[in-house]
């Protein structure tokens, strides 16, 4: 019978033991031989979060389609089990084989958000893999990072042997072949890393060095060898219709945070919102073929028995075949009693009609990502959403029976004034007024419910605002207060609920997002002080971090509290995402002037992403 890494006694003591036993439907069991390439894929957060992530499922499916490779999964043990594993000296294990992670050839860690950085150290520590790359030996797995945060890998560079910059579909086979070849020839770990650094998209931090100016900015970033590239070009899958797609995704026993099937319809976005990192990182826009998507949708439903399917992309309304695809899905899903979930859809008569068909109007709320309260500020961030469009959408929705509306806003955007912030309350008030004008008293189902939710703006690498100053804690708190006051002043304030996110975490996220190699010391220090699961309010201890920065002699304000000079060398400048620094500079300057940039479907902005696919994904008009 199957042996588990944890005893029955331990599993009975901890919360949700199903997180650690594997055996899920569609998980893959393979025979392991001495020749098997063993890849352990890690999402450094709790199981239910990690199991909601499509990227891991794509790579799991891809790796396991290779006959010589066995890919397994591991997630962060929850603090209850973490404590037991340390007390009883139980090494971290992979779910499928329940074997120690240390026995694997590779440990791949996906970096989806900055607040998981301490969890990476927990994973390495529990796996008994040295935390710093430089301390690892021939017995340790190669630790490789990937995902959005690897576009500024510097704050965690010292913990990784390498990073894969870009989309995973393209280069892993090449990397594995190189590993196999080098292993066969008895090549040392150091030499393998050197060889790997020549594979496109692979960044080996130990082979690069940084010199700093006296003011702490970067003087020079350079490779230590002549035969490895000075810049790393992001990898892009050019043919999304003929590549790996997990049509037999692993189905967790316990409810995942996103308990649904995911159909990724396209990558990239043409809208050019200046705060949005994903919008730049995933350029150029690439759609999956509609017939391929239809086939995937049917296979996904047949292979899982799931009750809900979700279309995924940065802006689903921009998918050219959306109308046909949704028509097909409505038919097939109705037959199979499967719900369709449609996030990131623009609110218009078409989308409302679709939502009417697939969702219970009474239960769902409509979401507008307005991002800023005034038109002036929406122009600054190039969010092409006007008040007119919002009010028209709301009117249509209210006529269609909806009476719940959610708004997302950001506070602390560049150039923001108190008038912009007060605009949040005013906009919500106008939407409430539209409800009372549109829906006659007799048809009202109680009060309209409007929720305004604000988060704090964090400038990210590879955006027009990568040079921008981020607000301080105090400013953020004042801004939240001003927002609240603005809402209370309005006529319909009783219909408006205001929610805001915590400030402390935002500050830390800001430091990590644009940090350099020096930051890694503080991350290690905070981990030693017991910080992990920082993305979870109940475990986040801000004081640990303040102390850690101080003890490491790091002035954390350096990373957030200053406008960077356009000539400054930024820690992530050695990464080439196609979109050029020059383009971002132009956008930064246009933002200061409040000038907008049109959707690149209307006019090419020469952002640079056309280097991929020789421009075949781009629009030249």
């Amino acid at each position: 019978m199957r042996e588990l890494a944890l005893s029955d006694d331990i599993l009975m003591q901890i919360e949700k033991p199903a997180r650690y036993i594997g055996l899920e439907i569609n998980s893959i069991m393979k025979d392991i031989t001495p020749d098997t390439l063993r890849f352990c894929m890690c999402f450094p957060d709790v199981y239910e979060i990690g199991m909601s992530h499509l990227g891991i499922q794509i790579l799991y499916d891809m790796f396991n389609s290779f006959e010589d490779t066995y890919c397994e999964r591991v997630y962060s043990p929850w603090p209850d089990l973490d404590k037991i594993m340390r007390e009883k000296d139980i090494p971290l294990f992979a779910l499928e084989s329940q074997d120690p992670v240390k026995d694997f050839d590779f440990l791949g860690i996906t970096l989806q958000y900055e607040m998981c950085y301490t969890n990476i150290l927990q994973i390495l520590d529990l796996a008994k893999i040295p935390i710093f790359s430089k301390d690892r030996t021939e017995d340790d797995p190669i630790v490789i990072g990937g995902g959005p945060c690897s576009y500024n890998p510097e704050p965690i560079a010292e913990f990784f042997d390498m990073f894969y910059i870009g989309e995973g579909e393209t280069r892993y086979r090449e990397l594995l072949d190189l590993y196999k070849e080098d292993k066969k020839n008895g090549v040392s770990r150091a030499d393998f890393l050197h060889h790997a650094a020549k594979v496109p998209g692979i960044y080996v931090p130990s082979l690069y060095d940084v010199e700093y100016n006296e003011d702490g900015t970067i003087k020079r970033f350079f490779p230590l060898f002549d035969d490895i590239p000075a810049t790393i070009r992001k990898e892009v899958e050019e043919d999304l219709s003929h590549t790996y797609y997990p049509t037999k995704p692993v189905i967790p026993f316990i409810k995942a945070t996103q308990d649904r099937l995911t159909l990724e319809i396209m990558r990239g976005c043409t809208r050019g919102c200046r705060f949005c990192q994903a919008g730049q990182l995933y350029r150029p826009i690439r759609e999956r073929d509609i017939e391929v998507l239809k086939k995937y949708a049917i296979e996904l439903m047949d292979n899982t028995g799931h009750e809900e399917i979700c279309l995924s992309s940065l802006s689903s309304s921009d998918y050219t075949g959306l109308y046909d695809l949704l028509g097909f899905l409505i038919d097939e899903c109705t037959k199979r009693k499967v719900n369709i979930s449609l996030p990131s859809l623009r609110i218009d008569s078409f989308s409302l009609d679709v939502m009417n068909k697939v969702q219970d109007v009474k239960k769902t709320s409509l979401t507008f990502a307005a991002e800023a309260g005034s038109q002036r500020l929406r122009n600054v961030i190039n969010k092409g959403l006007t008040e007119e469009v919002i009010l028209d959408g709301a009117k249509l929705a209210f006529e269609g029976g909806w009476n719940k509306v959610k708004f997302y806003f950001m506070l602390g955007l560049p150039t923001e004034t108190n008038e912009d912030i007060e605009g949040i309350g005013e906009l919500c008030n106008k939407v409430a007024a539209v409800y009372y004008e549109t829906v006659p008293k007799s048809q009202r189902n109680g009060r309209v419910s409007i929720t305004a939710s604000t988060s704090f703006f964090i400038p990210k690498p590879f955006t027009a605002f990568q040079w921008s100053r981020m607000c301080s804690l105090e400013e953020f708190r004042d801004k939240a207060f001003t927002t609240r006051q603005g809402i209370i002043k309005t006529l319909n304030q009783k219909s408006i609920k205001y929610i805001w996110h915590d400030t402390d975490v935002s500050v830390l996220e800001g430091i990590f997002a644009r940090g350099d190699r020096k930051v890694s010391k503080a991350i290690y220090k905070a981990y030693q002080k017991g910080s992990f699961f920082d993305a979870w309010n109940e475990f986040f201890i801000f004081q640990n971090w303040l102390d850690s920065f101080e003890e490491c002699g790091i002035d954390y304000k350096f990373y957030i509290d200053r406008e960077r000079d356009l000539a400054e060398i930024l820690p992530w400048d050695f990464i080439d995402i196609g979109v050029t620094k020059n383009f971002l500079k132009k956008e930064y300057l246009k933002a200061q002037r409040g000038e907008t940039t049109v959707n690149c479907k209307e006019k090419c902005q020469m952002c640079g992403a056309s280097v991929y696919g020789s421009g075949k994904f781009c629009f030249y008009k």
Partner: protein, 242 residues
Amino acid sequence: MKLRIKFSKIGPLKFIGHLDILRYFQKAVKRADIDIKYTEGFSPHQIMSFAFPMGIGLEGLAEYFDIEANSYDSLEKMKEDLDAQMAYGMHIEDIILLPDDAENAMASVQAAGYVIRFKDTLPFDIDKAISDYNTKDEILFTKKTKKSEKTSDIKPFIYEICKATELPTGILDDIKDKGLTLSDDDLYVLVNASSSGNLNPKEAVKCLYELENAEYSENFNLLRTDLYTIEDDDFISLGAKR
């Protein structure tokens, strides 16, 4: 038409709780393409009801849930199709067509059999404990819940206590087939599992410890062997064909 599905759950999947097993079967039924009936209304769900939820840690040889189906080819094929969708350690043991007026599984359950497999040597002699239990007319036992303590005679809630190795060959073979081993100390209890008088089998074990003045520890694995309805003092398995 009403169908009763009999399944077993042995091994690591004992760590999956009842609600997750429910969701697991809802998906399995869809994958197996069973023509199950749905409730009416805006968010239809499958008509499916379980006999007796399994708590985390409990294994089972014969568990049941009832469904309503619109149509099927043959029960044998349905059983094969559904069994092909099971995760490691779970099996569809049987599918039984119920009469239209059959009582649902949950309402039918009146008794449940459990094998208690001890992990360590017992601090008392099991034969003596069983005989002590049998010779007493009444055993006062204090049941502690979060809210209250209640002392009453436990014997009416326990229909049978014996050594597990003395069970009928049929059940012993089933246990062996599932790769489970029994030791001479292991115990079998048949207890009240009705909605009015349900007794947790752990209380029965605790009662033996108290009887032998030994300090209780929960050092055992629980295996539910079957669920029964009671007719004219006969215990009839929920999986019995009639």
